[in-house]
């Protein structure tokens, strides 16, 4: 899988999980369906997709698969706890912040995927980057701990349209590929450049 593919896939997943309605969903999924030679769903199917999407991720009923890391990583399933705050710190650490701070938990799947995009892109651009240990941590010690649990909830849910099921499987694969890319294709993780102040200076 090329870097370009990894990036465009991440952008697709990011946008998909943020879709507000079926029209946005349709627009977001259009290139994906074309590329994968998948049949275009009927209007009715898009409606069903929208209802299922809201049942799974939005509400207003108790959501089946909340798209927030903290729900899976905290002892109790709430947002804005230590996990959310730690993800926010990590964003700040690498120079970015969510425009929705305080309104939408920073550890929403789409925000995390957006961070992945930025990490991946920035690491590609530089030979040696202090971003690597941060991304390594974010990907392997954070996202890999909750995204599979999140995807499992989707998998276990009833009446999940096949497109959501497919996207969920592909996101799982994407995460594995991304971890592999970071481990093998790029540099070894540099030894800490911050704990050893002397070396860095």
């Amino acid at each position: 899988m090329s870097t370009e593919d990894q990036l465009s896939q991440a952008a697709f997943f990011r946008d998909f999980f943020l879709a507000e309605n079926r029209f946005q969903m349709e627009e977001i999924c259009h290139p994906y369906l074309e590329n994968n030679k998948l049949p275009k769903p009927t209007d009715n199917k898009w409606c069903e997709l929208e209802f299922a999407f809201n049942r799974l991720f939005v509400g207003p009923r108790s959501v089946i698969a909340p798209p927030f890391a903290s729900v899976y990583l905290e002892p109790e399933s709430y947002v804005m706890g230590e996990t959310t705050q730690s993800v926010r710190k990590l964003y700040h650490l690498v120079g970015v912040s969510s425009p929705w701070e305080g309104r939408i938990p920073d550890d929403h799947i789409s925000l995390e995927l957006d961070a992945c995009l930025k990490f991946h892109h920035a690491i590609e651009e530089t030979e040696y980057s202090p971003l690597i240990p941060v991304y390594n941590y974010f990907l392997k010690d954070h996202m890999s701990l909750w995204v599979p649990a999140f995807l499992q909830k989707i998998e276990q849910a009833v009446d999940v349209p096949s497109l959501i099921g497919r996207i969920s499987c592909e996101l799982s694969l994407w995460l594995q590929n991304e971890c592999e890319w970071l481990t093998t294709t790029r540099v070894r993780i540099p030894e800490s450049h911050i704990l050893n102040e002397e070396r860095r200076i």
Partner: protein, 761 residues
């Protein structure tokens, strides 16, 4: 290597100093994530320099908040915020009532704000009850709502087809802006009255001219306390400290309740009175007090009217043996306690709201008041017939009082108060059309010309709390549009066309007072509203904007509001003087208590009745179709073999709080509580599924055997369970209680005069 990296990152994220050091390195390396596009924004260079100030560093910001629930305690609390996130809350230590502690519900408030299950966005349902929800923008939601309102106006030439059902889901004063929003649209149909305490309010108004109670902190001064039909160990936990203190000082505490409650367990003596016979018990006590010559003659002669008629009635109609037979309490016990109460100085009775939710509820409260009055305790420090008060509610009601658009057409007919909190004193050619809140379903079905076409539901969950579920379902079928405003999905939201997300108290400015204690608490906005939630007045303002876009002049609600300013507009000199403050800003230092001339209500023995005295005989009561004096009034005839009691549970307030996972841990499934002997006669075993049924409907539920409930009763806690369609209202009808219409516009409801049968499934 992997572990080292993880450890390092945890250290970086966990320790501000290491993080600062790391950040310097990142900036020096010039590797900030600067990929264009996407969602996450690049922080500006200056943000890095003050990194620890913009994020996670520094001390907590402390905000003042108040619990807005319909609860005696209305606690003030402090909210500790860091990085725009509530970290924890604690009871306000400045309040001698709250005393720095919150109840289990209050302590869970951050969970409400941060539950992944909150209603996050405006949602539209394609077919009520289908679960086919679409997320829409506020603009689209308000556009649909506004167009429907305009359609109704065009069709009916009035907005009486628009109904509002709202009660006490949020008691923050600015939330009366919901009623204000309705007025700003025109004359509408209002579901008025209160399911809570109206019969008792009328009763106390007949007796004393107002509902006014002693400061609960004054319970410590009582030498004898009867807690009658109330369960403060669950429902007013902060009051218990004063009960205990009085006990420690030697006061005796008697609890009278059909159910052996947690409060009963803390008492010195417990009486399991026959449900709905509290009036007979009070009259029996009164007769014995009279017979023993323990009446406070000075009080009843100088400061009361109609005592001689009451005395004559007692002599003619009431005996101890009769009272014993009616109530199931032995005559000797009634006599003993009557003497103890009459000779303790002072002695007090806490009259619970449960006692008046009967067809004879108001009459029973009057009988209990009479016992307190005839023993000379009504006005004494440490005495009192404690029920509730609205003494501290003298706000401006700026959000509530809005003017109808010019040319609005309304209802022409008899008008009365729209609930106990109606401070508008409206006088106009037209008025709103009022219907009984306790008969929501019946009112929707029976109201025509024009019918209620559209219902706005705020601060209320009628499907969970109102009566006769089957009738409610039918009534909703008649409605053309249902708009529900809530924080969480519930059984009413399930029947909505449009569901709008409302802000928690952390996310809005308001001010709160209690109907029990005398503290005033500020509620500051501590965090941004999560997702797209808005406070009720922000919703009103946004709706007005949309209405005026579609039809200029169609709504008078201001379209550009600052919620902090609107909170401030609720204050006036009266409030400042009562609480000894110069400005609402003084409340930032903590809640303030009203400057009371005495902790006792009616301390100067000047009553607000027409006679200015305590009225054992009330012409007002008589004029409103009741007995002039507190006579025995018969309870409702049983409609089925067992009485059905449906109070709310310890961990929820009706359907509020129950949706939180922690609350469901404590109260995971509905149960019907049944006395072991009754269960045996029906061959029901503990844990077995049973059918509870009556003429209203039926439900299936698991049985739990306990002798805490009387043999002739079933008890099912009222609640809404997230993953269970159980609803106790399928068994409860909408029979009215005797009183309530005088002061709240509609009679109360006889929630505890319900009957059912039970059998194994």
């Amino acid at each position: 290597m992997k572990e080292d990296n993880k450890k390092m990152m945890e250290q970086v994220l966990g320790c501000p100093q290491t993080r600062r050091q790391f950040l310097k390195g990142m900036a020096a390396a010039g590797v900030m994530l600067s990929m264009p596009g996407g969602i996450l924004k690049t922080l500006k260079a200056e943000d890095f320099n003050i990194e620890d100030e913009i994020t996670y560093g520094g001390p907590y910001q402390v905000f003042r908040n108040a619990c807005p629930r319909n609860c005696y305690d209305t606690c003030s609390f402090k909210t500790y915020v860091k990085d725009g996130i509530v970290q924890f809350i604690e009871g306000a230590p400045e309040s001698t009532f709250t005393d720095g502690a919150l109840c289990v519900k209050g302590n869970s408030y951050w969970r409400e704000a941060y539950s992944p299950d909150r209603v996050k966005y405006p949602m539209v349902q394609e077919g009520r009850g289908t679960g086919k929800w679409r997320r829409v923008s506020w603009d689209e939601a308000l556009d649909r709502i506004s167009k429907k309102i305009l359609e109704i106006k065009a069709k009916d030439n009035s907005l009486l087809g628009l109904g509002l059902t709202k009660y006490s889901g949020n008691f923050g004063i600015t939330n009366y802006g919901v009623e204000g929003m309705m007025s700003s649209l025109g004359y509408t149909t209002r579901f008025i009255g209160t399911p809570c305490w109206p019969a008792g309010i009328d009763a106390q108004n007949y007796d004393m001219g107002n509902m006014w109670c002693h400061d609960p902190e004054d319970l410590v001064n009582a030498k004898y306390i009867i807690i009658w039909g109330a369960n403060p160990a669950w429902c007013s936990v902060h009051s218990m400290q004063f009960v205990y203190e009085a006990q420690k000082k030697g006061a005796k505490v008697l609890v009278i309740d059909p159910v052996f409650t947690q409060t009963a367990a803390k008492a010195d003596e417990y009486w399991q009175v026959k449900t709905g016979e509290d009036g007979a018990l009070a009259l029996g006590m009164a007769r014995h007090i009279l017979d023993r010559g323990l009446v406070d003659r000075d009080f009843v002669m100088k400061h009361a009217v109609g005592y001689s008629e009451f005395e004559a009635y007692l002599k003619e109609e009431i005996t101890l043996d009769w009272a014993a037979e009616k109530t199931g309490i032995p005559a000797a016990d009634i006599a003993r306690v009557a003497e103890e109460f009459a000779t303790a100085d002072p002695a007090s009775i806490w009259i619970g709201y449960g006692m008046q939710r009967h067809v004879n509820g108001g009459a029973m409260v009057r009988a209990v008041d009479a016992v307190v009055a005839m023993t000379g305790n009504i006005h004494k420090v440490g005495g009192g017939a404690r029920y509730g008060h609205l003494y501290t509610w003298g706000f401006n009601y700026h959000a509530l009082i809005q003017k109808q658009p010019e040319g609005s057409v309304g209802f022409m007919g008899k008008v009365g108060p729209k609930g106990e909190f109606d401070f508008t004193k409206e006088k106009a050619a037209y008025s709103d059309r009022t219907v009984n809140i306790n008969q929501t379903a019946r009112s929707i079905l029976e109201t025509n010309d024009p019918p209620v076409r559209m219902l706005w539901v705020a601060c209320k969950n009628p499907f969970s709390q109102d009566f006769d579920l089957n009738m409610m379902k039918k009534a909703f079928e008649k409605l053309e549009m249902v708009v529900v405003i809530d924080k969480f999905f519930n059984q009413t939201a399930e029947q909505a066309d449009i569901l709008l997300p409302v802000a928690t108290q952390f996310e809005q400015w308001t001010v709160n007072v209690s109907y029990w204690h005398y503290w005033l608490g500020l509620n500051e906005q501590a965090i941004k509203p999560m997702y797209e939630s808005k406070s009720n007045i922000e919703i009103a303002s946004a709706l007005s904007k949309k209405m005026n876009q579609l039809e200029p002049g169609s709504c008078t609600f201001p379209t550009d509001i600052n919620t902090e300013e609107w909170m401030a507009k609720e204050f006036n000199q009266g409030i400042h003087d009562l609480f000894g403050i110069n400005s609402w800003k003084d409340l930032r230092e903590g809640p303030k208590k009203a400057k009371l001339a005495s902790p006792a209500a009616w301390h100067d023995k000047k009553f607000s009745t027409p006679s200015g005295k305590y009225e054992f005989k009330s012409k007002l009561a008589e004029g409103n179709g009741h007995d002039a004096i507190p006579k025995y009034k018969k309870n409702r005839d049983p409609l089925a073999p067992l009485r059905l009691l449906t109070p709310h549970s310890k961990f929820s307030l009706h359907s509020q709080f129950q949706q939180l996972d922690t609350m469901e841990d404590f109260n995971p499934e509905p149960l019907v509580y049944i006395h072991p002997q009754t269960a045996q006669s029906k061959q029901i075993e503990d844990g077995e599924m049973v059918k509870v049924f009556n003429k209203v409907g039926e439900l299936q539920v698991k049985a739990r055997l306990t002798d805490n409930v009387p043999q002739d009763a079933l008890l099912i806690y009222e609640a809404w369970f997230n993953k269970n369609d159980f609803n106790v209202q399928v068994l409860v009808d909408d029979t009215s209680s005797d009183m309530g219409a005088f002061k709240t516009g509609a009679p109360g409801v006889a929630i505890h005069d319900q009957f059912a049968n039970i059998q194994r499934v």
